[in-house]
């Protein structure tokens, strides 16, 4: 049974964090968009931890927001705790993290989708992506609907042929008892995709009533910090704490005794798991000399007693899980509501994608999120918004929006996935970003909003705010340069109090602020600059002045980097025709089809000499073409 059900510009399969951003971006850019999801109660489902952000992930959320995405706005609406991590470190690594009320997060996101002009939601399973002449032309649902469209974005998360495993028990299921999608994998294979099998896992959820918080350490939120969205000012809201406790030798003993029942060790699980998301059994085996591991108890929301037990993810049998959990101080009488489980799923080899996230196999087919081998809500959202934008650009026949490694963490993420591929679920880390002093979370708007405004995603309000902010910064910088602080008893007394050397003659405020021991608030206290300056402008001024030399140094490196990125490689490049390339380099380049010289140079095994040869070849081609035209 098949029937024609309608026509859309863009169809998104999946309404997780990638799917939501993709669909919203497409609809906001004026495309008639349909989202098909297995279960509309699972829109923006947070299937694992109840938090958004964290180191480097917080950067991604701010970037998604700067582009005009929804994740930042949505978590601002629904957080129940917020923290700025790494405040003791440099500005490059400050990161926001919020605890979400999961249900409210979902509901708010669903309502946003439902209210969005040009956007329709539909419950169902996409079982086939149809193509015509190597180009996407429609999708078919399990219930027989056939929709035509010009572009498809696959954001199927962990649902492809997913299997949940708990000890000796396993079932073909998506997360949280949701249906798996069993048919799309085969279709993707037929379309030319290489599938891989990845694994991830989640800890148990427990009833708050069964916990004894008096044996744990309270982890409160921070007040007075700006939230995720550049559209919002600091939000005053009552916050809910998290709790910290520790495993002990008895915990580890029980795990060791039951290792043979773990599907990871018995070989039952074949998918590849991530090193940064180990189960407690993994930690105990790999770090056997560690006497205890941290366990964070985090609320799942305000309307529930369920608590998430970070640090104790496991695929051991349920009765072992109960015994293990009950060894932890404060959890002696814990009642598990949902057991921990491991989940295996199909994903594609992400090197089959272009930097625009369009597949190289099928025109008009875009992929985003865990299907590409990444993990994490924020990584998914980041890819989602880019896939959404570029599906629109594809239909408009305009240049895709490609953020490079010096533009954004999003650029690092996508370049890593597309250029290097990933042997395990990929997590963003600040250590992966070469130019992280430039890619700060505080300046995501200055890096990205204009780009998004130009293509019609970021709205006027965002753009105006950006212009205002930049103007303010310039003005205040000028003021810092032009205002001289003269030595006076008051000033010198104050400086001595800060262990800062007293002034002998007048000094520009700019130069006083350069002193490591002097902060912007000191300038205010010295009465030389008004308190009227907004906190986010103060922050920008302080970073600008204190880190100027370092920022200049990174800008210089970026300049070199950009030169390589600018040398485009034509898509019809036949590397076997390039004399002087190593054979293995020819194979790798042929397989990965890099889009520019910089990307080619990051392919493992491609040497600087290969790049030199390519450079000469490209110049030769260019000149030949010019000669032919002349």
């Amino acid at each position: 049974m098949e029937f024609y059900a309608g026509n859309y510009d863009i169809i998104v399969t999946g309404a997780g964090h990638a799917g939501c951003e993709a669909a919203l971006a497409a609809a906001r850019m004026g495309m008639k968009t349909l989202v098909v999801a297995l279960n509309l109660d699972a829109v923006a489902l947070m299937a694992c931890n109840p938090s958004i952000g964290g180191t480097s992930k917080g950067h991604l959320v701010r970037e998604v927001d700067a582009l005009g995405g929804e994740m930042g706005i949505n978590i601002d609406k629904t957080f129940i705790q917020i923290r700025m991590l790494n405040t003791g470190k440099g500005p490059a690594v400050h990161s926001l993290r919020a605890q979400a009320d999961k249900k409210r997060y979902q509901a708010a996101m669903k309502l946003t989708l439902e209210s969005q002009e040009n956007l329709d939601l539909r419950q169902g399973e996409v079982v086939e992506i149809r193509t015509k002449g190597g180009r996407v032309c429609g999708v078919k649902l399990d219930t027989g609907e056939y929709y035509t469209c010009r572009a498809v974005i696959v954001a199927s998360g962990v649902y492809l042929k997913s299997r949940v495993i708990i000890g000796e028990y396993s079932i073909n299921s998506g997360p949280n008892g949701l249906f798996p999608a069993n048919r799309l994998s085969g279709n993707l294979k037929d379309l030319g995709f290489r599938l891989m099998r990845f694994k991830t896992g989640t800890p148990a959820r427990v009833n708050k009533r069964s916990l004894d918080f008096s044996k744990m350490i309270e982890q409160p939120g921070h007040t007075n910090i700006y939230p995720f969205s550049f559209l919002n000012k600091a939000i005053e809201r009552e916050q809910v704490p998290c709790w910290l406790t520790y495993t002990n030798e008895r915990t580890h003993e029980i795990i060791r005794q039951n290792l043979h029942r773990s599907p990871m060790y018995s070989g039952e699980i074949k998918g590849i798991g991530a090193r940064y998301c180990p189960s407690i059994e993994d930690k105990v085996v790999r770090f056997s000399d560690k006497e205890s591991h941290q366990v964070f108890i985090e609320p799942e929301g305000l309307d529930t007693n369920e608590m998430y037990v970070q640090g104790l993810s496991s695929s051991l049998p349920v009765e072992v899980q109960i015994a293990v959990y009950r060894t932890v101080p404060g959890m002696e009488r814990v009642e598990i509501m949902r057991p921990a489980y491991a989940i295996e799923y199909d994903c594609i080899d992400s090197t089959q994608l272009k930097l625009s996230l369009e597949s190289r196999e099928v025109e008009g087919l875009f992929m985003a999120g865990q299907i590409n081998g990444s993990s994490g809500y924020e990584e998914a959202a980041a890819q989602g918004i880019i896939a959404g934008i570029n599906a629109v650009q594809y239909i408009r026949q305009e240049e895709p929006l490609i953020l490079d490694r010096s533009d954004a963490y999003i650029g690092v993420l996508i370049d890593d996935l597309v250029t290097k591929g990933t042997p395990e679920p990929y997590r963003m880390m600040t250590s992966r970003a070469e130019y992280r002093l430039l890619l700060r979370q505080d300046n995501a708007d200055m890096r990205l909003t204009e780009k998004a405004y130009r293509i019609g995603l970021a709205g006027k309000e965002r753009y105006d705010r950006l212009c205002y902010k930049q103007e303010r910064i310039q003005k205040e910088l000028e003021r810092l340069r032009n205002t001289i602080i003269s030595p006076s008893d008051f000033v010198n007394q104050y400086l001595l109090g800060k262990s800062s050397s007293p002034l002998k003659s007048g000094i520009q405020m700019y130069n006083l602020l350069k002193r490591p021991e002097i902060s912007f608030s000191d300038l205010i206290r010295l009465g030389q600059i008004g308190e009227e300056i907004e906190p986010e402008i103060q922050e920008q001024l302080e970073i600008h002045v204190k880190y100027e030399g370092y920022i200049q140094k990174q800008l210089k490196q970026v300049e070199q980097f950009k030169k390589m990125e600018k040398v485009k490689i034509p898509p019809d490049m036949d590397y076997s025709q390039v004399k002087g390339l190593k054979i293995e380099s020819v194979q790798k380049l042929q397989k990965l089809q890099p889009e520019n010289l910089g990307q080619a140079s990051r392919i493992s095994g491609v040497s600087p000499a290969d790049i030199s040869v390519l450079m000469v070849y490209l110049e030769k081609r260019r000149r030949e073409k010019r000669n032919n035209e002349a």
């Binding site: 694992c48 480097s56 790494n86 440099g90 998301c277 250590s431 490591p516 030199s612």
Partner: protein
């Protein structure tokens, strides 16, 4: 890899000539030249006129004269590379050339990749399309040699030391970065004092290595020549004779235990690095040790093999095996002990190999000149290309060390400016990358592997 930084290299063939020309090309060429050149009155020049020769000296950082030179500046775009070019004509010979190159690197020039001047000439439109293929061939063939050479070098003691510094930096980075990416794990933060002391000792190490490399103690260059043959065939005598007649340039570091002796000799301007198995103590199982396997191992990456046969003894099965094994190699056969009655027929050997055969005697010196001529001709006719092209490989190490030392200094400055450790780690990344460029490994992958193998992290 950068597209338009300033590069430098020796432009004349390696070896001992009357003069050598060192070329600089790129936007900083003039500025770098100004910083090292003084006129005959030992005054710095603020300006060079294009296409004029200047007579003067190159001074090192301690204001010591390295060499008396002629310098010419050629203004872009009418130059070979269409960039600003400076050529320094100094005395031939390895010492001044190496020291000047080192100094230019210290001042910010990068050692050119093989074929890089020609590549730039092409990319900047200086040479025509027909030459493009030739440029690509040049880059790939020369680079293959250089790559092979640097792999060889990676096993050397200098490389081991560099790697030790690099590993230490990776460890330091992992320890800083893990607390950045996982601020809430119970991992001890690095103390600034510890970071400082590790950075200082790394910098000290780099300085020491540069110093010793400078003195030439660790030089690993030249045509790698291996002498093989059965015990008592005269290997040591051959080596001694070559060393006696030619001035030995560098002797191996004493006290290192190895079963091979290395000598550097200068044969008519060609630097030859001779490896001799004479260092092996004469024991009863010697024959076994110098068996076919041992020869295979020793000759694997040799540029030239000198096989000594005792012409007063009949050919044995082992001799024939060795000859067959080496038939694809550049090999020179010496029929030694020609002062004694011959027991080997030269024709028998010709049946086994097409290699040149020279009759020698270490007693009366017969054939030694012929051996030297042969080596010299092999190099200048291009039959042998040094697998460690002179001035490239060990200078690469030096360049790496010079840059690493610079970045270590910056890291320490960052620390002294009371910057947080995650800022220092940006400088440490640069140190690792400077030292890692020879092997072309990726820092991020190494770093992330290190973090996850050493720390227990995650939810």
């Amino acid at each position: 890899m950068a597209l338009d930084d300033t590069i430098t290299a020796l432009a004349t063939p390696p070896g001992e000539g009357g003069i050598a020309v060192i070329r600089l090309s790129g936007p900083e060429s003039v500025q770098i030249a100004k910083s090292v050149f003084v006129n005959r009155k030992k005054q710095k020049k603020d300006k060079f006129r294009s296409r004029y020769f200047y007579y003067g000296y190159i001074l090192d950082d301690d204001q010591e004269v390295i060499d008396e030179v002629l310098l010419v500046y050629m203004q872009a775009p009418k130059t070979y590379t269409r960039e600003d070019v400076v050529e320094i004509h100094c005395h031939g010979g390895m010492i001044p050339v190496r020291r000047i190159l080192e100094l230019l690197m210290k001042k910010g020039a990068r050692l050119a990749e093989p074929g890089e001047f020609t590549k730039r000439a092409f990319l900047n439109g200086r040479i025509d399309l027909a030459q493009a293929e030739a440029v690509m061939d040049l880059i790939s063939s020369k680079t293959d040699n250089a790559a092979r050479a640097s792999v060889n070098q990676m096993q050397g003691s200098l490389s081991r030391e560099i790697k030790a510094v690099r590993d230490d930096m990776l460890d330091l980075l992992a320890r800083i970065e893990v607390t950045v990416d996982y601020p809430e794990e119970d991992i001890e933060s690095m103390l600034e004092d510890e970071v400082r002391s590790r950075l200082m000792s790394a910098r000290e190490k780099c300085r020491q290595l540069l110093e010793s490399a400078h003195q030439g103690r660790l030089i690993r260059e030249g045509i790698k020549t291996v002498i093989i043959g059965k015990p008592n065939v005269g290997k040591s005598s051959l080596l001694n004779a070559l060393v006696r007649e030619n001035r030995a340039i560098v002797t191996d570091i004493p006290g290192t235990t190895r079963d091979v002796i290395e000598e550097y000799v200068n044969i008519k301007g060609v630097l030859v690095r001779i490896l001799d198995t004479a260092g092996i103590r004469e024991t009863k199982d010697l024959v076994e040790k110098i068996g076919v396997e041992k020869s295979r191992e020793l000759t694997r990456d040799a540029d030239l093999i000198l096989l000594l046969l005792d012409s007063s003894q009949p050919l044995e099965k082992e001799d024939i095996e060795i000859l067959q094994m080496l038939k694809d190699k550049k090999i020179l056969i010496l029929l030694n002990k020609s002062d004694k009655p011959a027991a080997i027929d030269e024709e028998d050997i010709r049946k086994l190999t097409g290699s040149t055969i020279i009759k020698t005697s270490m007693i009366d010196g017969t054939g030694l000149d012929e051996v030297e001529d042969y080596i010299y001709n092999m190099v200048y006719s291009g039959k042998i290309e040094p697998s460690n092209p002179l001035m490239i490989t060990s200078n690469r190490h030096k360049e790496a060390l010079i840059r690493a030392e610079k970045h270590l200094g910056e890291a320490l400055e960052t620390l002294d400016a009371l910057m947080p450790l995650d800022m220092v780690s940006i400088d440490i990344r640069n140190v690792w990358e400077a030292l890692g460029e020879i092997t072309g490994e990726s820092l991020t992958e190494n770093l992330i592997d290190k973090i996850f193998s050493e720390f227990c992290l995650g939810k």
